[in-house]
Symmetry: C2
Subunit: 550 residues, 2 copies
């Protein structure tokens, strides 16, 4: 009988095992898991620690017994694989409860070892918690119940912010320490600025450009000597692929340190597949290898590995990497590449910012969002998108992720027929709007300018024209801008300076109308992309990046 | 100076006018609107009548004055175009306030006359209200404020149900009379069943297969003589394109009675364009001409007509027709073709039903939804989708509409990377699940059977196997089904009858696992698509279609 062993019984590994069972009802399938649980809801751990998910059992989607009963799987928890003998196709296995060691032979092997939280070498770091397993979530929940009043979360990534929010909701005084100048690295800085504001508004102290140098009894010490109260310290500075077993067996690793696999999830050994957070994927935008530790990606790969083992045709394309997180009242989501990554890769791109409402403004309850789109400057294909706001952010990023997957051009977004009723969207949906703006630039040749390019353009002699109302102008404007409201522009055309112009409004739309009018009158005009709002957020992000600004 | 006249100043017409202004700052642009308002939020009218939108002004997105100030448009309301002289390119125009008639010459003409509510010839029908303009919404709102206690809404389409809900929320006793056996014609019957239940649960009496024969003083009479109390009668049985002006000028109409246009929105006269609800679009699935009276489509076409007039390259592809509506606690959305239409067109298709949760089950607040996907049986390209449920229905239909637009195959839906965090989705999103199910059928050859095919298959000798738990079976099951819970199936394989099998669970997923297991044991198995839930909904829809069942 053909025998498949799966190492690692969470997302990717368990998807492989159950899928393989459905494809091969008679095959022998063994799952070896080092920890005490299989198939648990990793992504729910911050919410369990925070009490949003009340029952621990809700995290445990399957048990070894349920998997045996339903799928005929031989699942062994607290069982560690020590080594792979690829010659003889045997594993050296240790039962972590009894200490007994034994060998297991395989025909096919699927590695799904996952990734481990990075723990820096710091004095006192052994007191710090991490959050990857149910046991670690138990420890965090116990610390909260045990009376912790203050917490320092080290790392402002997705997990870090989820934990920070959950602890704050439990009444703790929370500080987040982030080495970078912004939280949530997949966002570009101007898109991260509203997240910084949201954390501040909810009482979470944010220390950007800061590192922890010591973990002491009830405080942590930062690089500049400041001390932060910390009954509880949580490390969330990232994960690294668990590759010891794979590299010990001489399997090829990729340039990013993950296990290298081909399009069928096969490693450098034809009998061994690897899936999940430990594996390097090919990035769809740019084609570079990347690590994308996401549960949905792990599930997908696990299933494909099973298909490959069963002899079905399999081909996993480049990964886009869509991610979403709730940060108090904000939803933050990204798909594809960001500007930082494209710039680093030397790949040309064009940027569009817009600030639409979640649904028609005439219907109550619309919430604002900020959208950013990155597109190829030559053929207008989508490269990436970011969204920050309230209701409907998840919908727009999923639509954009689908469009990106399908290879649509940005101007085609205008043509998408999306469901419109007042409670759900607008006659021109935010995604359509991105397409219309892209079309304006492509077909009409409208020129835009980005928030970070304004200063240099003004330096070079351009005049700044604020076409918002006088009241909007009075509430804050770009330095040196002339106020000339759009609805007066036709009458007051004589007042427009005879120079290169940068026009702006609040979000870019009135600027678009003004740009068209002024261009028709012979002016050379750039419309400030995303308007005052994007400029303001971008400027705030630069402020927070200055040393000592946090 | 080039002169463009736009006839009709709501969605499509005003989009054409403002877009053209941005493309041609010096052009003369005149908008002639028969009614007293331009650019109003048609889709908000039911909510204004129901008090959800409180301020009438919120419906009025622009005024003639604001359009003149901002866009330099010459907008004339209460101005009717009586005739087009295509030879001389002149319009005969009447000022409805003064009665004065005059001529206006044009270089380009854009017709955006919209559609008018269908009013059947019935005794007493002059008392019935319709809802297309702000004035009609005023009348409806006045009737509610004036003390109407009972209402009959004739027509169970999108507008009819929106009005019914709004009136019910205002405390009226509401009945809906629908000629068809179901509400919301774009849904297939089994998908409409939950809508019927939702209406009933919210106290709206639904009379299916019924027609109104008389409108009397305070009741309406149905075809079978029943009388329904009706202080207020609202007609919402559909709209017909306003083509009098176009046909009077000898412009070509299409087979569905709308104005015929090419891919650039041009009519049979090269100087005349037409957009919006009065126009026939090509249906993307199947390529047949169709009428799709949707605001987003009208806006899109208005813009494209302006582009065409300005000499930009324009090509409007076939329309998909995505629509969404809120019905009390349910969201209902559709995109592309439904089963009824495909069957009528003789186009082969395959069906997938699933009943996922809006987000991960372990996170609180997940809401159920029902999803239906139609795909090409040969190449698996998407043909259409329907969704009914709570939160997240809008998101899934928009993703599916995007995938349909892009020409994706159903199995590619499994590969979409959609944002996953516990509050927003699942590691396998509902859209991914549709892709996985399609993949099961394509690659593994799993056979499914539809709810309406079960009876014939049982008649032909198939055995019905219920693989849910004993408790689920006890709470309701298919007639004649044997109970054999999935988790006991491996042990009790000997009890499985040696016949063709139809396996089912609650939604199809356990059925899938059982099907794989039984197929591996040599059985010929069909999995009931969508499980007991779809069968139950389908059966209910057949019940309600029986005469007198309402």
């Amino acid at each position: 009988m053909v025998r498949t062993i799966v190492v690692g019984g969470v997302a990717g590994g368990m998807s492989a095992a159950t899928r393989l069972r459905r494809l091969a009802s008679g095959a022998e399938i063994v799952v070896l898991e080092r920890g005490p649980e299989v198939s648990y809801a990793n992504c729910g751990l911050p919410y369990y620690a925070g009490g949003v998910i009340e029952r621990r059992d809700d995290l445990l989607l399957q048990t070894p017994q349920s998997l045996h009963t339903r799928f005929g799987l031989d699942v062994r928890v607290r069982t560690e694989v020590l080594a792979i003998d690829r010659e003889t196709r045997r594993l050296r296995v240790r039962d972590l409860v009894t200490g007994r060691e034994y060998d297991e032979g395989y025909d096919h092997l699927v590695l799904s070892p996952g990734a481990a939280p990075v723990v820096p070498e710091l004095p006192g770091v052994e007191r710090a918690l991490t959050l990857r397993t149910v046991a670690e979530a138990d420890r965090l929940a116990a610390a909260v119940r045990g009376g912790a009043r203050t917490a320092v979360v080290v790392g402002g990534g997705f997990i870090g912010l989820e934990v920070a929010e959950n602890l704050a909701r439990r009444g703790l005084t929370v500080a987040v320490v982030e080495r970078d100048a912004q939280v949530l690295a997949p966002l570009d800085p101007e898109m991260a600025a509203p997240v910084h504001a949201e954390l501040a508004a909810n009482g979470v102290a944010l220390h950007l450009g800061a590192t922890v140098t010591k973990v002491l009894a009830d405080v942590v010490e930062l690089h500049d000597g400041r001390l932060l109260d910390a009954d509880l310290v949580l490390l969330a500075i990232g994960v690294r692929p668990e590759t010891d077993l794979a590299s010990g067996a001489g399997l090829k690793l990729g340039p990013r340190g993950g296990i290298a696999v081909d399009e069928t999830m096969r490693t450098s050994d034809p009998h061994i597949y690897a899936v999940g957070d430990a594996v390097e994927k090919v990035d769809r935008v740019g084609g570079a290898p990347s690590l994308i530790p996401l549960a949905n990606s792990a599930n997908r790969q696990g299933r494909l590995a099973a298909d490959a083992i069963a002899g079905l045709p399999v081909r996993l394309g480049g990964r886009i990497g869509t991610a979403i997180v709730q940060v108090f009242g904000l939803t933050v989501a990204t798909t594809g590449a960001n500007e930082k990554r494209l710039r680093a890769a030397g790949r040309p791109y064009r940027v569009i910012h817009t600030h639409p409402a979640s649904h028609a403004g005439y219907y109550p309850g619309a919430e604002p969002m900020s959208l950013k789109l990155l597109l190829d400057p030559d053929d207008a294909t989508l490269l990436g998108a970011q969204a920050v706001g309230g209701a409907g952010v998840d919908k727009r990023i999923d639509v954009l992720a689908t469009a990106l997957y399908a290879g649509l051009r940005a101007d085609e977004l205008a043509d998408l027929e999306l469901g419109y009723a007042p409670a759900f969207g607008s006659a021109k949906d935010p995604v359509n709007m991105l397409g219309y703006i892209a079309g304006n630039q492509l077909s009409d040749g409208e020129q835009s300018i980005q928030w970070h390019e304004v200063a240099a353009a003004v330096e070079a002699g351009a005049a700044l024209l604020d076409v918002r109302t006088a009241a909007e102008y009075a509430a804050g404007h770009l330095p040196g801008a002339i106020s000339l409201p759009l609805d007066e522009l036709r009458e007051r055309m004589a007042e427009v300076p005879d120079r290169a112009l940068i026009v702006y409004c609040q979000v870019g739309q009135r600027g678009h109308t003004a740009t068209a009018l002024l261009t028709g009158h012979g002016y050379r005009v750039h419309n400030l992309d995303g308007g005052y709002r994007t400029w303001k957020a971008g400027t705030a992000s630069v402020q927070s990046a200055r040393p000592g600004a946090a």
